[in-house]
Symmetry: C2
Amino acid sequence: MADTNRKYLLAKRPDGTPDEDTFELVEEDVPEPGPGEVLVRTLYLSVDPYMRGRMDAGESYADPWEVGDPLRAGVVGEVVESNGSRFEAGDVVTGNLHWADYATARGSELQEVNPDLGPISTALGVLGMPGRTAYFGTREVAEPKAGDTFVVTGAAGAVGSVAGQIAKRSGARVVGFAGSDEKVAFLEDDLGFDAGINYKETDDYRAALDEAAPDGVDSYFDNVGGPITDAVFSKLNVDARVAVCGQISLYNAEEMPTGPRKLGKLIETRARVEGFLVGDFAPRFEEATRRLGEWVAEGEIQYRETVTDGLESAPDAFLGLFEGENIGKQLVKVGEREA
Amino acid sequence: MADTNRKYLLAKRPDGTPDEDTFELVEEDVPEPGPGEVLVRTLYLSVDPYMRGRMDAGESYADPWEVGDPLRAGVVGEVVESNGSRFEAGDVVTGNLHWADYATARGSELQEVNPDLGPISTALGVLGMPGRTAYFGTREVAEPKAGDTFVVTGAAGAVGSVAGQIAKRSGARVVGFAGSDEKVAFLEDDLGFDAGINYKETDDYRAALDEAAPDGVDSYFDNVGGPITDAVFSKLNVDARVAVCGQISLYNAEEMPTGPRKLGKLIETRARVEGFLVGDFAPRFEEATRRLGEWVAEGEIQYRETVTDGLESAPDAFLGLFEGENIGKQLVKVGEREA
């Protein structure tokens, strides 16, 4: 075991898009687990759009990260040492730890990862928080039904790709917005979407939807916000449901983003727009993980991962989310499993 | 009975705010009721903000009025002549008729007004469509609960004034936006609101809400839209409900109104925003009218009317809605009851 731990701190709150001044890589001794704690060596680290919000000081649903504190992330790691916890060395676990080679945590902060269920990295993707976000946001908020048209933005991402496939299982026509022809091919050929729209190839999202969603939109899962969402709103049908999951197109805006006022459309359509956080469904996480696992095992849900190599690639992997560089779940591979 | 009927037609679709070119007053012979029809003489005519939408050609929840056709309105009138309908001369009825001295209608298009329940004009206000809109929008969409803070815009209007009083009955703290000190006094002194905000006396609606709604906003009934609604959204609490009833501040806009993008706030708060139309609750109209009638009879719900005199005052009465000239229900008195 190395004696040095590399760890990223929040060096400075970003104005707009984070850059190299946002992140500081420090070295320290590998921490020692206190009583009831374990030492975890990071194997995979998850970068997610929501992290951008934690870098700001403003009020949000979660406390902001403090400047000088370690950046946090979903991690899959291997237990190196256990100081009286329920885990033992060699166990694979997941939890909300650091952008680091190592971290300590109480046993109660970690969940076991069963390597027999699939690649351990899926605990950060299709069988982890993004998969559960898609599961609850689609089934409980957007509620696509047979015959509906369901639209999802960020469709080739970790959440959107699963949301679209769950909607497809409900019998809906599924349309996804994504940012490259490769991603559109992934949606249409691998995931079974009815239509993909490459939003980088057109400015007229409404016209693209007129073609891809000729009967209008009954159910919308929004990860992106901004002008694409405006176009989807203009196509909402009576009694449509909108699940607001993310607004990644706006997270790096330096000024308050503006756009057309759309509440009048909600009167006309009696549509419901609802934000949600996956954490509110915590009592049902086990259900979600079990069902997603079954669907993946049966080949009913496909997933993809984009993996960068080495802890030092984490900042770029994170920033790449805002450029749409990932297909499926964006992960950082930090270490190899020893067991 | 006069032999001449005066009637307003939609002369021209307005660009922005309607003006004298929008309305054309024509004279014709008093129409004769066909088989199964009655001839109704108008006593009161209702002008309502939603009518602005019908003047446009664009898609909406209801078919637009055609240029050259009569303007339509909720009317309370007296049956002058019945040609085989269930009504007889002297009956007081209400229905969706014309901006006119007289109109014919099938009996099935009319409801009887019971003059013993209160002034017949209330069939167009607190015991009519506006009252029912407040009833269902508050109870079924905004859902204020005991201890909540409930905010309503257009609070001194026909719908808002009833919505706030229904929310008060639910045990919520009730805050209303209105456009004059007289209206604020009406809210606080006559209707029992906890606080009124005169939006014409401040630009900083957020600061006004910090004072009037120090615990944030749990339930919002929006009749107005625009910057006041932005401020209310900035104060939404976790699991807040927003009922979108109207957006009167935007109806006369000549260009698409823009404003800050607020969907991110819905994620943070898991708030639900839902548009509604009173017509969707038609199977429950009787329930609403009965309960509103009881509350009015018991003095639990107060109402006010602003009445202009003469059919020729209808265009100005309608335009006055957008200037906030009315307190409570805006009516046009067209004729006197003869019975």
